[in-house]
């Protein structure tokens, strides 16, 4: 691996770790600031296909399909006094791994894939939820910073074992 690639990988690992820290610590404004205005944030519904047929997710139905405007609504809602689903917030821990930089144009754009495992615990509940999947991200460089312009999250369950997606993936 060339030194440029090693540095790029390191750069995006740090970006993803910082992102995880912001949402795990419920800094939604801080998290929202990482988003590009052209954001496309999607999580398709995963399906059980016959045999090896791929892709095994729907191209028509999504658990999340947001742009910057609807994402802003979600974030604003969490700040009203009525967002019961996350009041008090879940304790979450986002584990990011298997980071791979697929495309990298310095100070311009990048395509980065990574694995994500979210641990979620609510209230006094002794159960916890685990959400696992792959993030396929695209980044755009704006005024000295990488912004997330596209996220496609492929979740590893066809039936989600969590009460809602009041948390971000």
């Amino acid at each position: 691996m060339s030194i440029e690639k090693v540095l790029a990988k390191h750069e995006f690992e740090q970006w993803l770790y910082d992102e995880a820290k912001l949402i795990d610590e419920i800094d939604f404004d801080g998290w929202f600031n990482l988003m590009h205005t052209d954001l496309k944030y999607e999580m398709p519904v995963r399906v059980n296909k016959e045999g090896m047929e791929r892709p095994d997710y729907s191209k028509e139905m999504f658990a999340f399909q947001d742009d910057i405007e609807t994402m802003k609504m979600r974030v604003d809602r969490l700040k009203t006094d009525y967002a019961w689903a996350e009041m008090p917030p879940s304790r979450t821990r986002r584990f990011v791994s298997n980071v791979r930089v697929l495309e990298y144009v310095e100070n311009e754009k990048a395509v980065v894939h990574s694995y994500l495992l979210i641990y979620r615990s609510r209230s006094t509940d002794i159960h916890h939820d685990l959400i696992s999947g792959e993030r396929q991200d695209e980044f755009t460089y704006v005024e000295g910073e990488w912004k997330l312009s596209k996220r496609f999250f492929i979740v590893d369950q066809t039936t989600l074992n969590t009460r809602n997606l009041a948390i971000f993936v």
Partner: protein, 436 residues
């Protein structure tokens, strides 16, 4: 003083005794619903036998399998079934179990197949259910295997306006009679024009008793002000009290809905008005022209919703179905389908789906606050405490009200959505079934 009956042990009672105990304690006519029915294992077991094995349950929508050979696999009362469209174009459903030695025949959610081959020993069935192939049959069975008797186990099936219902009951009340006057309202939701389901249904697990979902949709508009208070704050609906205006309807067999109206705006694509007029009576069309939302439940666990909100400054409606499928006394799988008017413009369809995902999908900003409440109610109803302490819920809201006589649609109708009449009706039919 709370009456303490530490001697009540449902687990030691016969089914008949449980039913009798329910009769004594579940008193919808007085607005009294005991908390234990939301958590008790024995009640849950009896519900499975007396309700889920007996009534019509939703399996899906015809648009999910439009072509010959299309199939979907779904649960019917917790048992996997294959729904398939045969080469003759008609729909059939079977228990997803090989009649040889019980292997699950099909593991995909959907697909297109004229026949199914069992992964265990290779028995092959036509999509109409007949066993047509057994490897080495002549040799190993000496030609004695009576293949005609080994068809897949049949599920009783019927449809209404695209909705596919199945039941394990071989002699059910005909579907049209079971739905009764509720058809009038269902027509507006799923029969106003040709509707299509977009994509697969979304599924998620909630640690909640299934009845809480059905009950919430059958009569609880009251919670909207508080539980969904954030939505008014975002300006997606006019104000927190908007949810009170309108009517609440219930009919026999436990079905019921809430109709939010009036609405200064037409909630559906206007260019389809000629189609709506063709498919609906003029009274139904008049109601449809005025609705802001329609929220209801077809007994026992199918709920529907038409919701008209403002997304990105523009009004848009979405139509969804949801099933509250019990998997344990304190756990259900929620399954939601998004439906859209087939001949609507691509722009309308896109925006309608977007509003569904934003509001009522698993990430939906309405949906998520409901599931939080459902989970906590379930937790508080669990264990022996609710039964020994005789904890009851209060379902008396609106009991002082008289139904209106001049409403445009059928059923018992109240001129205000804030009443628990629909829930009282739901639980009284529930009780009838549990006693039957």
């Amino acid at each position: 003083m709370i009456e303490t009956k530490t001697n009540v042990h449902l687990d030691e009672m016969s089914r008949e005794e449980v039913a009798n105990y329910l009769s004594e304690t579940v008193r919808p006519e007085d607005g009294v619903i005991p908390a234990y029915i939301m958590g008790d294992e024995n009640v849950n077991k009896l519900e499975h036998e007396k309700i889920f094995m007996k009534t019509w349950l939703l399996l899906g929508h015809e648009s999910e399998l439009p072509n010959k050979g299309d199939f979907i696999t779904r649960d019917l009362a917790g048992y996997s079934v294959i729904v398939s469209r045969g080469q003759d174009g008609s729909l059939r459903a079977f228990y997803n179990m090989c009649t040889h030695r019980g292997m699950k025949l099909c593991r995909a959610d959907k697909g297109n197949k004229g026949q199914f081959t069992c992964p265990y020993h290779g028995f092959t069935y036509k999509n109409s259910g007949e066993l047509i192939g057994v490897p080495l049959q002549k040799d190993i069975y000496g030609g004695q295997l009576d293949m005609e008797k080994m068809s897949l186990h049949n599920v009783t099936l019927d449809t209404y306006k695209g909705l596919i219902f199945g039941t394990w009951n071989e002699n059910p009340e005909p579907l049209l009679e079971f739905l009764g006057d509720f058809k009038w309202y269902l027509d507006i939701v799923v029969g106003r024009t040709e509707m299509e389901v977009i994509g697969p249904p979304q599924k998620f697990i909630v640690h909640s008793q299934w009845k809480i979902g059905s009950d919430n949709f059958v009569s609880d508009s009251y919670h909207t002000m508080v539980t969904h208070g954030s939505i008014a704050k975002l300006g997606m609906v006019p104000n927190a009290a908007y949810s009170k205006k309108g009517y609440q309807v219930h009919v026999k067999n436990g079905h019921g809905c809430n109709i939010g109206m009036p609405n200064p705006d037409f909630a559906f694509p206007e260019e389809l008005i000629p189609e709506y007029k063709e498919n609906l009576s003029s009274d139904q069309f008049e109601l449809m022209s005025n609705v802001k939302n329609m929220i209801g439940t077809v007994f026992p666990n199918l709920s529907f919703l038409v919701s008209h909100t403002k997304v990105k400054g523009k009004l848009i409606s979405n139509t969804t179905l949801r099933l509250w499928k019990p998997i344990a006394p304190d756990k259900m799988e929620v399954m939601t389908w998004f439906l859209v008017d087939k001949n609507a413009s691509e722009d309308w369809k896109y925006r309608s789906r977007e509003s569904y995902i934003l509001t009522f999908s698993p990430s939906g900003i309405f949906e998520q606050d409901d599931t939080e409440v459902f989970t906590d109610i379930t937790q508080a109803a669990a264990g022996t405490l609710p039964i020994v302490k005789n904890f009851n819920y209060n379902y008396t809201m609106g009991m002082h009200r008289e139904p209106v006589k001049d409403f445009i649609g059928p059923g018992v109708v109240y001129p205000d959505k804030f009443t628990e009449a629909g829930s009282r009706n739901f639980y009284s039919y529930w009780l009838d079934m549990m006693k039957a």
